[in-house]
């Protein structure tokens, strides 16, 4: 995946570049808004990672300019401003996701990979499949090895989100944002308990684990 990082802090930018390449991606860096806009407008990138406060041209204005030019490449905004309002303005300006500094790189990586996937498959599938696990969004049923598994509505939505991003890491905050639609930070491990319940339902009685815990990052549905 080709990523453009627009970030004025050199150290942070080179850390990101290195970390992305270690994760198997190619990253370019621009250190101010104008340069970033020029690169983004001309290059062929899969995802933009844009700092909100940039010299010469504000991050939100860069995104708005790109969108005005018909560029729909998903953009993730990095910002030190993390209040509800800031997030809303960021997303309104054309951003696709919003991450508050300081963040864990695993969180950023997971979100960037999900953004890329989202851009790739615009049409939402009605049937998700991972190994012998199937989730039918229309009939609201889950089967594993042909055997139906009964889930609570929230568990269904949790699994639906995990399966839509099968093979990708999904973090706890991503789950809280997308399954519960809250952006705050729950103090205790409430999400973990939800996930382990779900895991109990879809793995009990089966040999192979399918819902994996990715240490220090989150969870992943993966059929080995």
């Amino acid at each position: 995946m080709k990523i453009l990082i627009i970030e004025d802090d050199r150290e942070a930018a080179s850390f990101l570049k290195k970390a992305f390449s270690e994760a198997g991606h190619i990253a370019d860096v621009a250190s101010d808004g104008e340069a970033g806009f020029a690169l983004a407008d001309g290059g062929n990138y899969d995802v933009f990672v844009i700092d909100r406060m940039l010299p010469r041209r504000d991050g939100l204005s860069v995104i708005a300019g790109l969108r005005a030019n018909g560029n729909t490449t998903p953009a993730l905004i990095l910002s030190a401003l993390g209040e509800v309002d800031d997030r809303v303005t960021g997303l309104r300006a054309g951003g696709d996701d919003y991450l508050t500094k300081p963040y864990a790189f695993s969180e950023l990586l997971a979100r960037v990979e999900v953004l890329k996937r989202r851009a790739g498959t615009r049409d939402v599938e009605t049937l998700y499949r991972a190994g012998d696990l199937e989730l039918d969004r229309l009939s609201h049923t889950v089967r594993r090895g042909g055997q139906e598994i009964t889930l609570q509505p929230r568990e269904f939505r949790l699994l639906e989100y995990l399966m839509r991003h099968a093979g990708q890491v999904v973090t706890r905050t991503m789950l809280l944002e997308n399954v519960w639609d809250y952006h705050f930070d729950p103090q205790t491990n409430v999400i973990d308990v939800h996930v382990s319940r779900l895991r109990g339902k879809i793995e009990r009685g089966f040999d192979k684990p399918i819902l994996h815990t990715v240490r220090g990052a989150g969870y992943m549905i993966r059929a080995d």
């Binding site: 209040e83 509800v84 809250y182 103090q187 409430v190 308990v193």
Partner: protein, 468 residues
């Protein structure tokens, strides 16, 4: 103390001076008007009396001729306080009457005398000459036999009246001057003194004596109200200032302690010879520690922003019941895992204007706390939520079976960083309730802690009414 120019700068002195000038002008005008009017009336009355007298004398002349006229004049002239009567021959020699001498030329033209003239009565002392007698007005009639009849009246009465009026004017002007001075002295100087004391007090406050307050006399007047309001403002500022100091101290403590731990751990890992596994573990702990730091820091920032006043556009119409069930649903598995019974009771649908994120976070903080501390005495720990519309408020209550917070500590519990457990062993930033309180303040409501051990309640009280 106060020089004249300083005095004239005070509002009271200016007002006193202005009123003095205004009233003096009015008084002068009034006196002029009254005296000229009354002089006219007196002169009119005098002329009327003279005309009547002349008519009476005329009738006597018709009945008894010159002899009858003279006789009547003689009688009338002798009465006390009589008018002036004078009959002369065509040459001006006095034949009868009570006038001894008269200003020359007065008798030349018949009819009303145009101006007041001077005369002297018989028997009155005084030097020769017409100028030093009394002033009078008169009607002069030429009788058919070319003799001259003068009937007049002394003008001393209207003159006296005018003098009285002028004296009254002078006296009232003097009284007004005195009054203005007294008003200034008692009102103006008093105001000046009080403003001086307020000025002095505020100067001392600016000089650093922040505990000082403006003087309140207890009279309950506008100065007191002003001072009271300013004092309330100073109290508020002092409170905020105190809070700020407290917070910086707490931030210093709560951020420095983990930062020190973090640093020590990194140092230990660097110096240890434990190999890659030990180093990895140390790094993981470091990350976990810094995540907790970030969490604390975010909570501090959020509280500050809420206290500074969040933008109003961040509120929408929302259903509190939906948030309640979201939070219950979110925490239910975690509660169950800890053996706590989490349930929602009596939930009414209540629409309010609010911020879903903030309320959700505040409620989850409270529920988080309740689950954490609900372990009770013998009975199965449980946490129950209820949402009720009351008469003047909407009450979202979280009740738990834990030991609760002792009465004396409740005020402190919602302060930043206060964790009532001395050991600080359980996880948490100590900001949960403070954040909930800030969220409630932002929504125009409050946080209420009530109940006793085994039945402790934290309630989010939202104002009812404006949102239905």
């Amino acid at each position: 103390m106060a020089t004249l120019s300083a005095v004239m700068k005070t509002t009271a002195a200016r007002l006193s001076a202005l009123y003095l000038v205004l009233f003096a002008a009015c008084a002068v005008m009034l006196v002029i008007y009254v005296s000229s009017l009354s002089t006219r009336i007196l002169v009119g009355q005098t002329q009327e009396a003279i005309s009547e007298e002349v008519a009476g004398l005329g009738r006597a002349y018709q009945r008894g001729g010159l002899i009858g006229l003279v006789r009547l004049v003689e009688i009338r002239a002798r009465q006390p306080g009589a008018n002036l009567y004078l009959i002369t021959d065509p040459n001006g020699r006095i034949l009868s009457g009570n006038v001894e001498s008269i200003q020359p030329g007065v008798l030349d033209s018949p009819g009303w005398t145009e101006n007041a003239f001077f005369y002297r009565r018989f028997g009155e002392p005084g030097p020769e000459g017409g100028e030093n007698g009394h002033a009078a007005v008169a009607q002069i009639i030429r009788l058919p036999n070319r003799m001259i009849l003068l009937v007049g009246r002394d003008l001393s009465e209207p003159d006296k009246f005018g003098r009285v009026m002028r004296r009254a004017l002078a006296a009232s002007l003097a009284m007004m001057g005195l009054g203005a001075f007294l008003i200034w002295y008692f009102v103006g100087r008093r105001a000046l003194r009080r403003i001086d004391s307020v000025t002095e007090a505020s100067r001392q406050i600016m000089g650093g004596d922040l505990a000082r307050r403006l003087p309140v006399s207890g009279a309950g007047d506008e100065f007191d109200r002003l001072s009271e309001n300013l004092n309330a403002m100073l109290d508020r500022i002092a409170g905020l200032n105190e809070g700020l100091k407290q917070v910086s101290a707490n931030i210093a403590h709560d951020l420095k302690t983990p930062l020190t731990r973090l640093r020590n751990r990194a140092e230990a890992a660097l110096n240890s010879s434990g190999g890659p596994d030990a180093a990895k573990e140390a790094l993981e702990q470091t990350i976990a520690e810094s995540d907790q730091l970030i969490r604390t820091f975010n909570a501090i920032l959020m509280i500050s922003r809420l206290e500074a006043g969040y933008s109003a556009e961040s509120t929408t119409k929302l259903d509190l019941a939906a948030i309640l069930s979201d939070v219950v649903e979110l925490y239910e598995p975690a509660a169950e895992e800890q053996g706590v019974d989490l349930k929602a009771e009596t939930v009414e649908s209540v629409q309010i204007d609010g911020n879903r994120e903030l309320i959700g976070q505040a409620l989850s903080n409270i529920v988080d706390n309740a689950i954490k501390y609900s372990a009770g005495f013998g009975q199965k720990p449980s946490v129950s939520l209820s949402l009720r519309k009351e008469k003047h408020a909407i009450r979202l209550a979280v009740n738990d079976t834990g030991p609760g917070i002792p009465e004396k500590d409740r005020e402190r519990a919602t302060e930043r960083f206060v964790r009532l457990e001395p050991s600080r062993s359980r996880p948490g930033s100590g900001l949960g309730l403070s954040l909930a309180k800030a969220v409630m303040t932002f929504h125009g409501g409050r946080l209420e802690l009530s109940g006793t051990s085994g039945g402790f309640t934290v309630a989010m009280i939202f104002p009812a009414g404006k949102n239905g």
